[in-house]
Symmetry: C2
DNA sequence: CGCCATATACAGGTCATCGGTATATGCTTC
DNA sequence: GAAGCATATACCGATGACCTGTATATGGCG
């Protein structure tokens, strides 16, 4: 079991749903704000990810509302989904910490 | 310009080369240790990434040695490569911080 | 009246990664 | 002494997440 690494869009979708349920378009805007405008998810990416994550059991439909004749489907992060996200956070922190240390060694003039 | 997100294997290859030049197999072992054994790069992934990153100007061949009739090609992270890695670190830290905060909100019983 | 924001959905294409294989040497183990 | 493993680089076909673009529909703004 090498894998399990989440791609950035998937990671951000889970993050957007971590605090409270949101509908698709809300996730879209949330991801944009989390990333400071760096990441704007394509609609296709978002709904494909939502389907995939539902099949995985990491998110599920919270409720559906109809606002102005338009459907709003709210998604919720499940407990397994939260655990998965937490694991991915640890994994990424480990990697970014290693990268930082090595970049510092580099600017310090190489390895001892 | 939405993109620029590095995939995990690519990120780890750059990280492995950040402190000092290494040859392919050294990168392989280094990535494994950085990730605590979680990530073992496929040979195909590694050399494809090295080619791609060379074309991008983020890594370059440092030197070549022949040890026991076997070639050792050492790669080095370039300055643009180091800058790219540093940018990716900042990006990932922003995202992991957001994910952590939201997971805490969740365990605290939802958003205020 | 056209444009933008809101909102969901699908179809076609790309590309990084995976999985497997090939080649070659030297050390260890049985 | 041969079987297997670590070292070392390299290619090829398949997969799948993601991107681009498009379709559909409503309401507000200029």
């Amino acid at each position: 079991m090498n894998d399990g690494a989440l791609r950035e869009p998937t990671f951000l979708v889970l993050t957007a749903l971590a605090a409270q349920p949101q509908h698709g378009y809300g996730v879209l805007r949330d991801v944009e704000s989390i990333s400071g405008g760096q990441v704007t998810l394509r609609a296709g990416t978002l709904y494909a990810a939502l389907d995939r994550l539902s099949a995985e059991g990491w998110v599920e439909v919270d409720r559906e509302e109809v606002v102005d004749s338009r459907l709003r489907r709210y998604y919720r992060l499940t407990e397994p989904g939260a655990a998965r996200l937490a694991a991915e956070v640890r994994r990424r922190q480990r990697h970014t910490t290693a990268a930082e240390q090595r970049l510092q060694l580099r600017s310090a003039g190489g390895l001892a």
